[in-house]
Subunit: 315 residues, 2 copies
């Protein structure tokens, strides 16, 4: 493990750097990697992001100027916000064994890189990248905007329990570079497509409560997605809905990825350790937010996750 | 107009102070007044909030320790987050003519008090109260929590366009007093009653689009409220839903207060000045968020507000 100063010093020695992001890329992995890439370029280095085939329209505009040319042969490889090697996209396979630096904030980090710069208490990987970049270059508005996206998305725009005083101080510093975050906030946190609003309405009408109404399960069947012609962007972060139901402290979303395969998202309060629940099912994450992908029908997976919650709570 | 230093000096000269909040009290008026009350008490002064008859369960716990005894005879009267004298609750009538200091952040402020401490660019009145209290006393965790509530509620937990770097810096300072804001954030911004979720689902299914789909109108008829047995808390801030519809830049919520009386809430982007729209209908507020209460049926008021939008946009 190395700190942000040492990570900065290590990056200083590199050139021709390829940055890797994680599967189902979110604002933190894309925003952090983009900001790092732009910072390295501002230092006169060559740096690229490996194309992430699952990028959604939401985050594409940030990463687009940074995609590596096809067949790019880097001298150095760095992963950003990647908890374990299994979470690298398939096209990252050629680089998986030669990652020299992993910058991450997941407590479940797998230490797959030669050096790891891990701060498990950081609300977002963007906080760590901010500290690293401060050592290396000016935080220009161009760098500040994707960093703001990274940080704001991973703390739900400063509402999740991972938000710290430091998170707010970094947000203030980024805004003081002159970036206008109101457009980003509007797009990322205050805009829902009509399809998404209708899907949410359906998920609410069909939600189920368990464990003395403390656990709520919402489902996104493939059929619903098809009926609504929902895009990947429409269903992004739909797992934020279940934990909002008053009186519950464990919101579980089951999303049917394909027949026989279900993605579980668990968002929980102090009573239920989401990371342990998902750990029981082969996944992982944070105490308050974790995930797993499991084989089975929606009903089978529902029973499995309820059983996992029961096991973890009774431990 | 006086600045926060002078407002602090003026408060320093006062004792036996009654603080007034506005009708349909929100987190900012209650949180700011409560924090100011606790700060004045920490200085050894006698201070109270005038009971606000419309207080909801959401904010009652903050204000409860501060309510003035019935028939309290103050020596000084201060209003907090009150834009115009008309927005004082009825039971404030005996004090309306003798307000010595108004602390406020509404651009439409009516200058009804002897002295006004107005910062129209502040995201919340809580920011101004924070600056005033810093001059007077330690910001203890007891004071920091209602101030956090004041600031966080008025900027939608740091998502609205009024959020500034300063807003984040103050939030950081408040959190550094040691308060745990995760419970507050969860309760205020990440919890919805089942009734509320169902009302939202209905509002979504019945929303109407106008002006080339840029204006969306959602309605809360009395009948829907009765059918759902919705409480005041269930429908609080339901006006935040309409502005979320993708592709629109003007979200209007019409809430039938009683037969023949409708409350209009307008939330808008740069194209539509919400304050001017509501000004046309006898109301007011901020450029991006304003309100008015109008006589008429839901349909009549819908037509009136659409006409007002058209007038303002074409000016």
């Amino acid at each position: 493990m190395i700190d942000t100063k040492k990570a900065a010093a290590l990056l200083q020695t590199m050139n021709r750097i390829l940055l890797l992001t994680h599967v189902r890329p979110d604002g933190d992995t894309i925003g952090s990697a983009t900001a790092l890439c732009l910072g390295l370029r501002a230092m006169g280095k060559e740096a690229y992001l490996l194309y992430n085939p699952e990028i959604t329209e939401t985050y594409l505009p940030y990463a687009a100027p940074c995609w590596a040319p096809e067949g790019y042969e880097p001298d150095h490889v760095v992963s950003v916000d990647v908890a374990v090697a299994d979470l690298l996209p398939e096209n990252a396979a050629p680089y998986g064994e030669r990652i020299e630096l992993a910058i991450d904030h997941h407590p479940s980090h797998g230490f797959f890189a030669r050096e790891s710069c891990l701060y498990a208490e950081a609300a977002a990987c963007g906080e760590i990248v901010y500290e690293i970049l401060r050592e290396l270059t000016d935080i220009t508005p161009e760098i500040a905007l994707p960093l703001y996206v990274a940080i704001a998305t991973d703390c739900g725009c400063f509402v999740y329990s991972n938000t710290s005083a430091k998170t707010h101080r970094i947000a203030a510093a980024l805004m003081e570079t002159g970036i206008d975050v109101s457009g980003v906030n509007k797009q990322l946190f205050r805009t829902k497509s009509k399809v998404r609003l209708k899907m949410e309405a359906r998920m609410v009408s069909e939600m189920e409560l368990f464990d003395n109404d403390r656990v709520v399960i919402m489902k996104i069947p493939l059929a619903l997605r098809e009926e609504m012609h929902a895009t990947e962007t429409d269903i992004e972060e739909l797992s934020a809905l279940a934990p909002q139901v008053e009186g519950t402290d464990c919101g579980i979303t089951l999303r049917e990825l394909c027949p026989g395969k279900v993605k579980i998202s668990v968002r929980s309060g102090a009573r239920v350790n989401a990371s342990e629940v998902c750990g029981q099912l082969g996944g992982g994450g944070h105490k308050a937010a974790a995930g797993a992908t499991v084989e089975g029908t929606l009903d089978e997976v529902k029973n499995a996750v309820l059983h996992a919650v029961e096991t973890v709570v009774s431990q």
